[in-house]
Symmetry: C2
Subunit: 141 residues, 2 copies
DNA sequence: CAGTATCCAGCTAGATACTG
DNA sequence: CAGTATCTAGCTGGATACTG
């Protein structure tokens, strides 16, 4: 039926695109790293407090103190998610009271490196974006 | 007063960290690109429908058709945000009815290149993440 | 110390309807 | 064709309180 061809084409396109989205590794990656606290935990474990040091293990309370403003709920949730993905390891030492440390895995370290590339782009270009933004705003107002 | 020193220290740390967060270019970049439709529009304008072609201008309706599932509201909102940031240009041709095309700027193209690096990491490593994820789930259940 | 459990306010995405 | 306007349901994140 020639009259349904166009509609069929569009449906096919949508199906392909939906599948692309659902399976897209980039989308999954973005979903993970775009989380505010994920990025910060990664930065903390990967580069220390000032984002300029060495990767090192940190305790739960140390992270909580460093990421000022994070709620316990979000910190725990974030750490669990990263552990689940194999990006960090959780180590509990049965002292009294218990001591728990978190550390980047090789995979987590690799992700951290990738995010430094992102950081480089941001430092090089976000000023221009911000300039464009305020120029646009003053024009339309 | 020596008794307030610890509290003062923590308050100072928090203040520094809050300032770091507010001004951090990386944070602003993440806020922009983590948006689902931003990433998709960038990919569409930068690499064509199949993410493998050349950067080219596209019409509003063409984008709407390609990004199957996007609402008019979100598409318009996304395009406005990208235009505001100087990442794409909007060109309206006064035909009847009006024709509007969107195209990446140099800055937008540069961002698109950066995101291809992210895509590379995702394609190389997300499989491992997904494996870890299901292993973790089957362990704890 | 290192969490877990619960509740709720705020924002946002999407559906829907309308227009120059 | 390319939008704008409005409404609302659902999710997310934070505050709070409790615990092995």
């Amino acid at each position: 039926m020639a009259t349904t061809t166009a509609a069929q084409k569009r449906a096919a396109t949508k199906a392909v695109y939906d599948a692309f989205l659902a399976g897209c590794p980039s989308r999954k990656l973005l979903d993970r790293i775009s989380d505010k606290w994920v990025a910060l935990v990664l930065a903390a474990l990967g580069s220390g407090p000032d984002c300029a040091g060495e990767p090192r293990a940190m305790r739960y309370s140390e992270l909580a103190r460093l990421l000022a403003g994070v709620s316990q709920k979000m910190l725990t949730q974030t750490l669990r998610a990263l552990e689940r993905d194999g990006l960090i390891t959780r180590t509990a030492t049965p002292t009294v009271p218990v001591t728990v440390t978190y550390e980047l895995t090789g995979l987590g370290l690799s992700l951290h490196e990738m995010m430094r590339g992102l950081k480089t782009w941001a430092q090089a270009n976000m000023d221009e974006v911000l300039t464009n933004r305020s120029a646009y705003d003053s024009r339309s107002r």
